[in-house]
């Protein structure tokens, strides 16, 4: 394709110096000519703009009054509708009150205040050589007068003192919390503790756990324990019943941990500790809704997808004389997210 400018324009396009030479780079042409606004030249337009600004400020005044009236007029009762009405009217009034001022001020600035761009010079950030010399002198004089260079003993002990003085501040933080000790490896589960429903704490009969059902379980007495939330964050358990033949590879070590296909697993995800609350009945998969770690109940809740590494710990359970589900012992390993000392 042929691309051409209008003929004869080239001589005007580039400025040559007196000798007719071209500069290496284009030169800044300077500010473009100013374009006047309608309100600059037409008093009628200016008057119009003035009225618009005043109208916006007027809207603000009305908004303020409306907000105050709404506060007293629409008092929320015990219904969502009344709360919504109060919220909406208050916010609407406040919004108009604020927007009126804001838009008015901006409109004023844009239409009526001068819009001639001005120019001022910058100065390099660097101080002048004289400044720098003087500054250095001052610092050197200060250092010399303090004698910090001549008296290394004073300097070094000061540095040592300063290095250490923050330590009490760190030591003082020691009582922010107790040491972990073995608390992360122990839960409320123990031999004979009944499995009870979350949250009401009713014990669960083995016969009530039908195939395909799922129970959120807490140890008996959790609600009455000293710190129920902390205990629950470790002891929460999920009970499911499935055909024992569904288990893909039987682990002899876990022989007798279930009651006729009733399995109890920790509910706390081994990733970062969310509750693994979603159960797919058909596939026997357990899914953590936080980060989608997926556990397969037919493989002792081994991780089959997602960021978790370890299987959900299984709680060995049995059945007591009255037919209720009880724990055989505590978990055999720590539950919940990994930690350094976990091993």
């Amino acid at each position: 394709m042929d691309t051409r400018e209008q003929g004869g324009a080239s001589s005007e396009l580039v400025t040559r110096d007196e000798d007719g030479n071209l500069p290496d780079r284009f030169e800044n042409p300077g500010p473009p000519p100013h374009r006047y606004r309608l309100a600059d030249t037409d008093p009628k337009a200016a008057k119009n703009a003035e009225r618009q600004v005043a109208a916006l400020f007027g809207i603000s005044i009305l908004g303020t009054i409306f907000a105050i009236v709404a506060y007293f007029l629409f008092t929320p009762e015990n219904t969502f509708a009344s709360i919504k009405l109060s919220n909406t009217t208050l916010g609407l009034g406040l919004g108009l009150a604020l927007l009126g001022i804001g838009l008015g001020a901006i409109h004023w600035a844009k239409t009526l205040m001068p819009d001639h761009e001005m120019t001022e010079m910058r100065h390099p950030m660097r101080g002048t050589d004289e400044d720098r010399t003087k500054a250095l002198e001052v610092l050197e004089t200060g250092a010399a007068e303090s004698g910090i260079g001549r008296r290394p003993l004073v300097r070094n002990t000061l540095l040592g003192a300063l290095a250490l003085v923050g330590l009490p501040g760190i030591v003082l933080l020691r009582d922010l919390g107790p040491l972990p000790k073995d608390s992360l490896t122990k839960t409320l589960w123990a031999k004979g503790v009944r499995l009870t429903r979350d949250p009401d704490g009713k014990p669960i009969k083995a016969a009530d756990v039908t195939r395909g059902s799922i129970f959120h379980v807490i140890p008996q007495g959790l609600n009455e324990s000293e710190r129920p939330l902390e205990e629950k964050a470790k002891a929460a358990v999920l009970v499911i019943r499935m055909d024992p033949n569904m288990i893909q590879e039987k682990d002899p070590a876990r022989e007798g941990w279930d009651v006729d296909g009733i399995f109890a697993y920790s509910l706390i995800c081994t990733h970062v500790g969310c509750p693994v609350a979603l159960y797919e009945q058909q596939t026997h998969h357990l899914l953590c809704p936080c980060h989608q770690s997926t556990y397969d109940a037919t493989q002792y809740c081994k991780v089959i997808f997602g960021p978790a590494k370890r299987a959900l710990p299984q709680l060995p359970i049995a059945i007591d004389d009255e037919g209720y589900l009880v724990a055989q012992s505590d978990f055999k390993e720590p539950v919940g997210p990994s930690f350094w000392e976990r091993g």
Binding site: M1, D2, T3, R4, E5, Q6, S10, L13, D24, R25, F26, N28, P29, P31, P32, P76, N78, I83, S86, T89, L90, G91, L92, L94, L98, L99, I101, G102, L103, A105, A109, K110, M113, T119, M121, L176, G177, L184, D198, P199, H216, L229, E230, K232, A233, H271, C274, P275, P289, C290, H291, Q292, V303, P307, A308, P337, F339, E341, R342, G343
Partner: protein
């Protein structure tokens, strides 16, 4: 004081009072006519500042009613479904604040919306500063202050999100606890110190409260002061344009134009937040119930700015190993700590990285057009793509349910996208930037297409191009094309190795990566030559020509 300046009006009296005690006249004289360049993108930082002020105002209202305590109580109030439910004081007071205090719900929603806007505007403001190179000397320190402000914003957001002690905020803390516990050696101790024992404990809400209402806002205020002080002291940057140079500032004076626009804009931001708070509900904590470690619902996402960490946690495969009896959880450490740390580190170090590569020690007050710095722009876009993919990953469950796709497929796709997406985005962006530069060059050289086809006397057709005026052309030709640094040889003429030669080679590689591919801006002689050629070509009847382009290797 001379007779002529003795005040005789009330305002004059106040002014005199202030000046004779503070020397206010000097400050007013010096500052009030200070010039600020005008551009819409300079408002982004303003939005951040104003939403922060809205946060301070609405937050102060909230503190009048919120009880930062995890002591247990039983709720009795206007919200019937939760009546007689045991819960913490924090959650109960949040419910009271929402339902029993007039304007309480409005202020809560304004506060939450303003928090989202605060971080969003800081983010976009950082994009602007990054892509225009406003962080270059002498403003590297202000870039660092700004980066710290953005991090503090995240801290403020997260600590505030946790305060209501509802089910979602408790689960957020649960995840934080899991991340802290994954830290090698000290993680368990840190967790116990933070929560005053086992999670959740009874101390975390009051502790986060003081972090949220005093510590972080105090730091933000101080750093905002420093940030703005530096903008004043160093004067604002300006976009390239006719009349604007590296030595001047072209703009409007603080008084009255800038004060009216900026002051008005504060009210606009506040007003929009008020409308959002009244019409768009957010974080309806009453729907979630009090925190309890065992229930949770699917499809729960954190606030948008935490999405990338949550998404990274979701994408990570289960890399966890036990070494010599100790557990190291890379599946949590990498997305939860290492990756955000690395991203922050690169962000803060970028100005120094770039000036090391360019060898440029000059002050820069005229902004870059992003296309003229292709590698920086491409790196920025690659980072945004990476961040966005991670954020998207945090919604993988929603994507799965809404699009009817398998969550496993989505996760795998996003895993690959997170790794392959950024380099692809980098390459595409760089090509687009170079293409735009070529286009600029063409435009400066040949002018605009007019659509007017002319037939010459000997039957040849060509389209008439209208040359640009010098103001329009200036924008296209004003920039410097940066070149890779040249190094002295590794050994001098006597065969002695130059000290630092090895480090310099890395530097040169970086410099090449940055500046090898470039388009030189048009020079006057090229323009003149092109025209001379055209006139000649017109006579000779041939008009083929190529732009002068330098590309790497």
């Amino acid at each position: 004081m001379s007779q002529t300046t003795t005040p005789n009006t009330a305002a004059g009296g106040v002014a005199d009072f202030l000046d004779t005690r503070l020397g206010a006249s000097k400050a007013v004289r010096g500052l009030s006519r200070k010039l600020f360049p005008d551009h819409w993108s300079f408002m982004l930082g303003e939005i951040a500042l104003y939403s922060f002020i809205v946060l301070l105002l609405s937050g102060t209202f909230l503190t009048l009613f919120f009880v930062p305590s995890m002591g247990m109580t039983t709720y009795e109030g206007a919200y019937a479904p939760l009546n007689n439910v045991p819960m913490s004081e924090a959650y109960a007071s949040t419910l009271r604040l929402s339902f029993d205090i007039r304007g309480g719900l409005l202020m809560r929603q304004v506060h939450h919306w303003a928090a989202l806007l605060f971080i969003a505007s800081m983010t976009v403001h950082m994009f602007r500063v990054f892509f225009t190179g406003a962080f270059r000397k002498p403003r590297e320190l202000n870039w660092m202050i700004g980066s710290v402000l953005a991090l503090l914003g995240l801290g403020a957001g997260f600590s505030g999100y946790s305060l209501p002690d509802d089910l979602l905020s408790g689960n957020g803390l649960r995840i934080i606890d899991g991340v802290i516990k994954s830290i090698p050696v000290v993680g368990t101790y840190l967790s116990f110190f933070l929560f005053d024992g086992e999670f959740p404990g009874e101390s975390i809400i009051p502790r986060l409260y003081i972090v949220h209402v005093l510590l972080i806002p105090g730091l933000i205020l101080a750093l905002v002061g420093a940030h703005l002080g530096l903008v004043f002291w160093q004067k604002h940057t300006q976009y390239p344009g006719p009349g604007r140079t590296n030595q001047n500032v072209v703009g409007f004076p603080l008084l009255p134009v800038y004060a009216a626009k900026a002051g008005g804009f504060f009210f606009v931001v506040f007003g929009i937040m008020a409308l959002f708070g009244s019409f768009v509900s957010i974080n309806s904590v009453w729907n979630y119930g009090p925190y309890d470690p065992s229930p949770i619902s699917a499809g729960t996402q954190p606030d948008w700015y935490i999405l990338f960490i949550d998404g990274a946690l979701r994408l990570m495969p289960g890399w966890e190993w036990t070494v010599a009896g100790f557990t190291i959880s890379f599946n949590i450490l990498i997305p939860g700590l290492i990756l955000p740390g690395l991203m922050t580190g690169i962000l803060i170090a970028w100005p120094f990285l770039e000036s090391w590569a360019s060898g440029d020690r000059r002050e820069h007050h005229v902004l870059d057009r992003p296309r003229n710095v292709p590698v920086r722009t491409a790196a920025g876009v690659a980072a945004i793509v990476f961040y966005t993919v991670l954020a998207l990953a945090a919604t993988n469950d929603l994507l799965a349910t809404h699009l009817g796709l398998s969550i496993n497929d989505i996760t795998w796709t996003l895993r690959f996208t997170a790794i392959l997406g950024p380099p692809i985005a980098f390459w595409i962006t760089k090509r687009i930037c170079l293409g735009l530069q070529r286009h600029d060059r063409e435009l400066a050289l040949h002018g605009r297409e007019t659509g007017r086809i002319v037939r010459t006397a000997d039957g040849e057709y060509f389209e008439v191009h209208e040359p640009l005026n010098e103001y329009d052309r200036w924008l296209l030709v004003q920039h410097d094309a940066r070149r890779p640094i040249e190094l002295p040889p590794d050994v001098d003429e006597n065969g002695v190795a130059r000290p630092g030669a090895r480090k310099d080679r890395i530097r040169q590689k970086l410099s090449r990566w940055f500046y090898e591919d470039r388009i030189e801006p048009l020079t006057p002689s090229e323009l003149a030559a092109s025209h001379a050629e055209h006139e000649h070509a017109l006579e000779a009847g041939e008009g083929e020509e190529r732009p002068v382009v330098t590309t790497g290797r």
